[in-house]
Amino acid sequence: MLRLAPRSAPSRALTLAAPFVALALTIAVGAVLFLALGHPPGRALALFFLEPLRGGDGWSELAVKATPLALVALGLAVCFRANVWNIGAEGQFIAGAMAASWVAMRATESSHAYLMLPAISLAGLLGGGAWAALVAVLRDRWNASEILVSLMLVYVAEMLLGYLAYGPWKDPEGYNFPQTITFLPVTQVPLLAEGHRAHVGLFVALGLAAVAYLFLFRTYAGFQLAVGGQAPRAARYAGFSARRSLWTALLGSGVLAGWAGALEVTGPLGQLTPHLPVGYGFTGIIVAFVGRLHPFGILLASLLMSVLYIGGELAQSRLGLPQALSGVFQGLLLFTLLACDALASYRILRVPAQRAGAAAVPS
C-alpha cells in the first residue's frame, strides 16, 4: 500500500519537472475529451497546440495575445509573492484601457506620436494603478479583504465601461453601436511588421520581465516583499514595512494590468467597446501560477496560454468545437500544475499491507 509522507523541503527535481508533467497531463485529458466528442485526437491536438505556431502570421497572433497576458501576470507574480491576492486584474485592465481611450480620443490630426504614445501609456498606468489603489487603501486602512474588493471592482469597472460605451463616449457616427470612435492612427501602438498585428508591446513585456526579475531577486525591496509574503512575523522582526509591501504589490500589478489594457485598446482593438474584457485579468492569474511566479517562467507560460487561446479559435472555425474549450484547457493546466507542485513536497512510501495505519518504513 502506498502512502504520502511530507518532505522537509520540496524536491527540486520534481519542482522543475512539474510544469512539463502538468502539460502532459492536460494534453492527455484533452485527447480524451476530443475522443468523447467524436474527433480524432491526434488531429485535434495538433490543431490546438501546433497549428498556432505556424508561420509568421501565427507567431504574430501569439504575440498579440501573449503580450497582455505576460504584462498582467508579471504584476500578479509580484503581488502573489507578497501574499496579496489581487483577483481583480481584469478591472485594472479595463480601467487602464478607459484612461488610455480618453487620451486617445483627444488626439487630433496635428498630434504628434511622440507625445501621444507616452501619454497613452501613462494614462494606462495611472488608470490601472488608481483602480488598484482603491483596493490597497481599503485593505490598508480598514482591513478589507483584497480578494473580494478587487473582484467586486471588476464588475464595477465592467459596468462603468458599459456606461461609457453606451453613453457619453458613444461614437455619434457609429450607427448607435456601443463603441467609441476609432482612434486616429497617430495613437496606434507601433506595429512590429507590416501586415501583422503584433506590436511593440511585446518588447515592453520582455523588458518588464527583466525588470521584474531584477526586482524580485536582486533588490532589497523585492526581498522584503518575498519575506513579507512568506513569513510576516519574520518581516516584522526584520523591520520590513508590511504597508509598503502591500502598496508596492498592488500598485505594481495594477499599473502593469492598466498598461496592458492601454496597449490592447490602442493596439489591436483601435477603439473602446464593451467587448474589451476577454478575461486577460483572470487568465493572467493562471499564467502567473503556471509560470511559477517567476518572470521568465511567465514569459513561457503566456506563450503557452496564447497557444491555447488561438488553438481554441482554430478548433472553433475548422472543427466546429466550442471556443470555451480553451477555458477548459487553461483550467485543467492550472489544476494539474497545482497538483504536481504540491506533490513535489511529498514522498511516496511503501507500507507493509498488514500494518496499515502504522508508522511507515521509508522505502
Binding site: 512568506q230 513569513a231 516584522r236 522582526y237 502504522a358
Partner: protein, 533 residues
C-alpha cells in the same frame, strides 16, 4: 516544596500487576536513535517520573505510549496483558490520557465544549458540563464550564487540558512538562491534584527535567539519557546532584565565575508603560531597567507575564513606547524602527526561530539579510556574494551543521538553526544583545556553546539581556536577575542571592516596593498598528 506523605507507599505497593510495562522499546528516526531498548514499569497508583534533558527521548517515548508513534522494536503490556497501541483513540479506550505541553484548545469555544470534543462520543453536552463542574471542584481545579477559553489564563488553560484528561476516567495519566507555564504556587496545587489521583489508583507518568519537582512529587523515576534508560531510582532518596549526574552522565561543571568589567550604561528603560496591544496581551507598567557594558542580566518569569510585550518594545516591533522611555547608549530609541535600533547596536534573537528569526523556505544566505543591513548595496541591490560568504562564515564559526549557505533554513534542526541565528546576531558586533529563550530545546553541547558565545561577547564589552522561562538557564548565564510579573519588573538581585522561595514569590507579583501609577497610556490600538512599521 511539601514532601509526599507515606500514604503513597501503601497504595503503590499494594497491587503486584504493573499498570504499564515497556520492554526494550526502540525507535529510530532518520539520523537519530530516539529510544534505544528502553524498559520501564509503572505500578497502579504510582507517581512515576521520566527524567531527562532535552533530546533524551522523553517525548518519543510518550508518543509511543500514547499511540501517536509505533516503536520499531519492543513490547508493551497493559495491566499485565501484551498490547500494541495503534493510535490515540485506542490508547484512550485503554485508559491512557495525555496532557500535552502545547494545549489543544479552541479559543472561541467554552470550557465545556473544549472538554466535550476531547471525549469520545456518547455523552450529552449538558452531562459533560455538569461533570466538568463536579470534577473541577473535586480536584481543586476551579473552572466555569461556560467560559470561553480565549478569556482564560495560561494556568487555567492547563486546567482545562487536565480536566479533559480526567473526564476520560484514565488509569494512566501522562503529563508532559506541565509546570513550564506555572508559578510555584500553581505547581503546588497541581501536585495536590496529582497526589489525589494517585491515591485513587490512577498511575501518573510525569515527564520533566526539573529535579526539585521530581523529588518532591514522585515515588519512582526512570532517567533517560541519549535515548537509553540509564537508571530507575526512588527520587525521594536521591539528591539533585545525584539525579543530575544520572541525567548528564557526569557531575555538571560549575558555571565559571565571571569577573565582569562593567563599562558605560548601554540600555536604559525608564518608566516604560505600554497598554496591551490587543485582547489577551499584557500591559507593561513602569518598567525600569539599566544595563551596563559587560553585564549579563536575566529576566525571569512565568510565560505570559509581559515578556513578549517587553521584547517587542525593545526590538522595535512595537513602536508605541512613549518618548524618552527607552535609551540606547544615551540615544532615545523609544519609537525607532528595528532597523534603526540595529544600526545603533541593538540586536535581538527571538523565541520563535522558524517563522520569525528565520524564513524556512529561504536559504541561509538569504536569511542573513533579515538583520544585516550592510549586505545591501547602494541603490538597494543585494550583495549576493557577500551574503553567501557571511553565511558560510557563520556556519563555520558557530559549528552549524548544514550543507552550505544554500541550505533552506527550514531543513536545519532546531539547535543548528538557533546557532545560526544567535551567530548572525553576535557576528554583527552588537552593543546590546537581547535574547529570548536562548537554549530552549537544545541539547547540552549546543546550549553550552551558545552560552560561551554570549559570555565572550560580553567580556568584549557588550551587554546582554536574557529573557527566559527556564531558571536554570538564567542561573548559568547571568550575574543578576529581575523577575517580570504581570507587566512589572521586580527589584534586581544577584543570582547568588536568588532563592527559589523568593523568586517564586516575585513570580506571583509580590514585590516589596510600591509600583508607581502607570502614566496615561496610549489608546488601545489593534495589532495592525504593529504592522505599520
Amino acid at each position: 516544596m511539601p514532601r509526599p506523605d507515606a500514604a503513597d507507599d501503601r497504595v503503590a505497593g499494594s497491587s503486584p500487576v504493573p499498570r504499564l510495562t515497556l520492554t526494550n522499546v526502540s525507535k529510530r528516526f532518520p539520523g537519530v536513535q530516539a529510544n534505544d531498548r528502553v524498559s520501564l514499569s509503572v505500578r497502579p497508583g504510582e507517581l512515576h517520573a521520566v527524567l531527562g534533558e532535552n533530546g533524551a527521548g522523553k517525548s518519543t517515548l510518550m508518543k509511543i505510549i500514547y499511540g501517536a508513534v509505533r516503536p520499531d522494536e519492543g513490547t508493551l503490556a497493559w495491566n499485565g496483558a501484551p498490547v500494541a497501541i495503534h493510535d490515540p483513540r485506542q490508547a484512550r479506550a485503554l485508559g491512557i490520557a495525555m496532557v500535552f505541553q502545547h494545549f489543544a484548545l479552541f479559543e472561541t469555544l467554552t470550557v465545556a465544549e473544549n472538554v466535550w470534543l476531547g471525549l469520545g462520543r456518547g455523552r450529552a453536552r449538558q452531562d459533560v458540563a455538569r461533570e466538568v463542574e463536579r470534577v473541577s471542584a473535586g480536584y481543586g481545579l476551579q473552572l466555569d464550564p461556560g467560559q470561553l477559553v480565549s478569556g482564560l489564563s495560561v494556568g487555567e488553560r492547563q486546567r482545562v487540558e487536565i480536566l479533559r484528561a480526567l473526564l476520560t476516567r484514565p488509569q494512566l495519566l501522562i503529563l508532559d512538562e506541565p509546570t513550564a507555564v506555572l508559578t510555584p504556587q500553581m505547581v503546588e496545587r497541581l501536585f495536590v491534584t496529582l497526589r489525589r489521583l494517585a491515591a485513587e489508583g490512577c498511575s501518573v507518568l510525569y515527564i520533566s527535567h526539573k529535579l526539585d519537582e521530581v523529588r518532591a512529587l514522585c515515588t519512582s523515576c526512570t532517567v533517560l539519557r541519549a535515548g537509553r534508560a540509564v537508571a530507575t531510582v526512588d527520587p525521594r532518596r536521591e539528591t539533585n546532584r545525584s539525579l543530575s549526574e544520572l541525567m548528564l552522565g557526569a557531575a555538571p561543571p560549575a558555571p565559571p565565575v565571571r569577573a565582569a568589567r562593567l563599562g558605560d550604561e548601554i540600555l536604559s528603560l525608564r518608566g516604560l508603560s505600554l497598554a496591551a496591544g490587543d485582547a489577551g496581551g499584557i500591559a507593561l507598567r513602569g518598567v525600569d531597567l539599566a544595563l551596563r557594558a559587560g553585564e549579563i542580566v536575566g529576566v525571569a518569569g512565568v510565560s505570559g507575564n509581559g515578556q513578549a510585550e517587553l521584547l517587542a518594545a525593545l526590538s522595535g516591533e512595537d513602536r508605541r513606547a512613549p518618548a524618552g522611555t527607552i535609551h540606547l547608549g544615551g540615544r532615545d530609541v523609544s519609537g525607532a524602527s528595528p532597523r534603526a535600533r540595529r544600526a545603533l547596536g541593538l540586536h535581538f534573537v527571538p523565541e520563535e526561530r522558524l517563522g520569525r528569526g528565520a524564513v524556512p523556505a529561504l536559504p541561509l544566505a538569504a536569511n542573513t539579510l533579515l538583520t544585516r543591513r550592510e549586505l545591501v548595496g547602494a541603490g538597494g541591490w543585494l550583495r549576493t556574494r557577500r551574503m553567501r560568504t557571511l553565511a558560510a562564515d557563520l556556519i563555520a564559526r558557530f559549528g552549524v551543521s548544514a550543507r552550505g549557505p544554500d541550505t533552506p533554513a527550514g531543513s536545519l534542526s532546531g539547535g543548528n538553526l538557533q546557532k545560526f541565528i544567535v551567530g548572525r546576531e553576535i557576528d554583527a558586533g552588537p552593543r546590546l544583545l537581547v535574547v529570548a529563550q536562548p537554549t530552549w530545546g537544545l541539547d547540552v553541547g549546543a546550549a553550552a556553546q551558545i552560552r560561551r558565545e554570549i559570555v565572550a561577547l560580553c567580556d568584549a564589552g557588550a551587554a546582554a539581556l536574557i529573557v527566559s522561562e527556564d531558571m536554570e538557564e538564567l542561573f548559568e548565564l547571568c550575574s543578576e536577575l529581575v523577575v517580570i510579573a504581570r507587566g512589572r519588573l521586580s527589584p534586581r538581585i544577584a543570582v547568588r542571592d536568588a532563592t527559589p522561595a523568593l523568586i517564586g514569590q516575585w513570580m506571583s507579583g509580590l514585590f516589596h516596593e510600591a509600583t508607581p501609577e502607570p502614566p496615561p497610556s496610549p489608546p488601545l490600538v489593534s495589532s495592525r498598528a504593529e504592522a505599520r512599521a
